[in-house]
């Protein structure tokens, strides 16, 4: 066997191992849901059951946490997306002094540990008489999620042809009409994906939320607290449901993205042949 072949098989072996490593934990966790054991495990297997789903369904704390998480995620979506879009528009328009500084400032929340964002938000708002809770969680999460949104919108904005705006303007459109009919529709796909990402980021956040949640509990905080106190496979049931939902969402998102990419490619090819 040549060294080339050894290398090839070696790398294949490695990739297989890697994906095993990536998925085994999730599979074990999901499997443990169906084990009729008081403690979430798969060894030993004490018989297959669906009772943990039932227990989860009857857990009022879980429903409360779920509704809190949904409210927070919706709130973050409503604030972080407009901020992210505004900042991307600013960065793609403004030329001049201080731009790099402003850009750095906008990125800083991404390079700040989540706990620190939570702490500083808590301190700042308490000094104004606002204490931890759903509102503060929305604010704290927006701080860094807006930066993610900004980056995603900016990436699309950089491929935007600004003569389209000039063309619309010279055809008599007002600034507002240009913005609503040309710029915003172009950004829409990026705004939608940024919205999905923002929603998920908010939903799964733990480190920041922990400091600003006050007496409210989000779903992630609820799971963490269950793991440490009162752990039953009901947590696995919740985990499994969340995994199924995220995988479905990810799949839809990915399929849609690929579909669009392929359509764009075909169009480009068509336009080439038409020329």
């Amino acid at each position: 066997m040549s060294s080339q072949n050894i290398l090839k098989w070696g790398i294949r072996f490695y990739i297989t191992l890697f994906f095993l490593y990536l998925f085994t934990p999730l599979i074990i966790m999901s499997a443990a849901t169906f084990n009729d054991s008081r403690f979430p495990t798969i060894s030993p297997w004490r018989g297959t059951t669906l009772k943990w789903f039932e227990e989860l369904w009857n857990d009022s704390g879980m429903w409360q946490a779920l509704s809190n998480s949904a409210i927070i995620a919706a709130g973050v979506l409503a604030i972080a997306v407009p901020i992210g879009v505004a900042c991307a528009l600013f960065l793609s328009t403004y030329r001049g002094g201080g731009k790099n500084f402003i850009y750095g400032l906008m990125l800083s929340p991404l390079l700040t540990p989540g706990v620190i964002i939570g702490i500083s938000t808590l301190i700042f708002w308490r000094s104004m008489g606002v204490s931890g809770g759903i509102f503060l969680t929305i604010i704290a999460q927006t701080t860094f999620i807006a930066a993610y949104v900004m980056l995603m919108i900016l990436a699309r904005m950089q491929r935007f042809d600004r003569t389209l705006e000039n063309a619309a303007f010279s055809l008599g459109a007002t600034h507002l009409q240009v913005f609503r009919r040309i710029t915003l529709p172009y950004l829409m796909p990026a705004i939608l994906s940024a919205g999905v990402i923002a929603f998920l980021q908010s939903f799964e956040n733990y480190n920041t939320t922990l400091f600003v949640k006050g007496y409210d509990t989000t779903l992630t905080v609820y799971i963490a607290s269950k793991v440490r106190t009162g752990l039953t496979p009901a947590v696995n049931a919740l985990g499994l449901i969340l995994i199924v939902i995220t995988v479905l969402l990810a799949a839809i998102y990915e399929i849609k993205r690929r579909h669009e990419a392929r359509a764009a490619e075909q169009k480009a090819a068509l336009a080439d042949t038409a020329n």
Binding site: T163, L171, G172
Partner: protein, 361 residues
């Protein structure tokens, strides 16, 4: 309706860079006017000042006699065809054409009438509901024209709109543009670096270089009687020979051209004896002579290209480094020409143009 465009002492400066020097120009109502020049000469800046995307540093733009100083781009009676066309990719062909009417709040039925009429004008009625990405290059070109015409502009501004097309389509679109201009009677202001486009379509051409309008003339005059050294060398091919004025007789001027000897031509402006001057002679106006007489010099043939009706020749005058291009009719007396041979070239003094200037201009 008056759709003339006046540039009254217009000047444009960015920081320390003067993009357009003080320019005074009147473009007539219904004229096809071209600005011709190399990239960076300021022609696009002029277009942007007319369209309202830029405000001149000094001077005023008037359209139909009205001062445009406080009128923003979306309120001017102009519309523009962009170099990359800038068709809206997320809208259909019809939506593109109707866009200018839509933003003016014109009703759907009205808009439809206009877009149908324009689609017929550009001969693409079947493309009405197509997406922009499904059009060919030439179709896109026509839709861009239709979109610009839909708002019934008094002045249509065209920023090198044909540069993305291949040669054949480009030549076809020249005829079509001229035709549309004739039908609509709108003032066309056309920007190009392609002298062929400028000369074939325009009523008048403004030649620009380094932010300065060098000459404004109809195509024939521009070619026959260029007014500046830049216009002489940029429009069409020209041979340029440097020398010093030694004699003048009315317009007929004689230069001492060093090793090339004394050469005479027609001066386009007043010169004085001893001044540095340039003589321009077009390749097709150089003739082959059998013996050295007046207005002749000898050159060694470097390259010969037979092009059917013509023979293009590159030659180096004896004892110089320069190159002369000559275009000879391919008649019987070219048979003996070969690379390395020496040839005597001559020309009529009234075919050559002399103006002041140094060789490095």
């Amino acid at each position: 309706m008056d759709s003339s465009v006046h540039l009254d002492n217009v000047m444009m400066q960015f920081d320390n860079f003067v993009a357009v020097q003080k320019t005074d120009l009147k473009i007539e109502s219904g004229e096809f006017f071209s600005f011709l020049g190399p990239s960076g000469c300021g022609k696009t800046t002029i277009l942007n000042m007319i369209s309202g995307f830029l405000d001149p540093t000094e001077g005023t733009v008037r359209i139909g006699g009205e001062d445009m100083r406080r009128v923003s781009a979306n309120k001017r009676p102009t519309s523009m065809i962009f170099q990359n066309l800038a068709l809206f990719p997320l809208m259909t062909v019809a939506e593109n054409i109707e866009f200018g009417l839509e933003v003016r709040g014109i009703k759907k039925a009205e808009r439809r009438k206009v877009s149908d009429r324009l689609l017929n004008l550009v001969a693409l009625p079947e493309c009405r509901d197509k997406r922009i990405s499904d059009l060919s290059g030439g179709q896109k070109q026509r839709i861009a024209i239709a979109r610009a015409l839909a708002v019934e502009p008094r002045v249509l501004l065209l920023d090198e709109p044909l540069s993305a097309l291949d040669l054949k389509l480009r030549q076809h679109m020249r005829t079509e543009l001229k035709e549309i201009q004739r039908k609509t009677g709108i003032t066309f202001i056309y920007i190009t670096h392609d002298q062929g486009e400028a000369l074939t379509m325009s009523d008048r051409v403004g030649v620009m270089s380094a932010g300065k309008l060098q000459q404004v003339a109809d195509p024939v005059t521009l070619y026959r009687a260029p007014a500046t050294p830049f216009a002489a060398s940029f429009v069409g091919e020209n041979n340029r020979i440097a020398g010093k004025v030694i004699a003048m007789d009315g317009k007929r001027t004689t230069l001492d051209c060093g090793v090339l000897g004394q050469l005479s031509g027609t001066s386009v402006h007043d010169l004085s004896v001893g001044e540095s001057a340039l003589l321009f002679i077009r390749p097709e106006l150089l003739n082959r002579r059998t013996e050295m007489t007046e207005n002749c010099f000898t050159a060694k043939i470097q390259e010969l290209n037979f092009e059917g009706a013509y023979l293009m020749m590159e030659a180096t005058p004896i004892n110089t480094q320069s190159t002369i291009r000559a275009q000879l009719l391919s008649d019987v007396n070219i048979g003996d020409l070969a690379t390395g041979n020496q040839v005597i070239f001559g020309f009529d003094a009234q075919d050559a143009i002399i103006m002041s200037g140094k060789s490095d201009v």
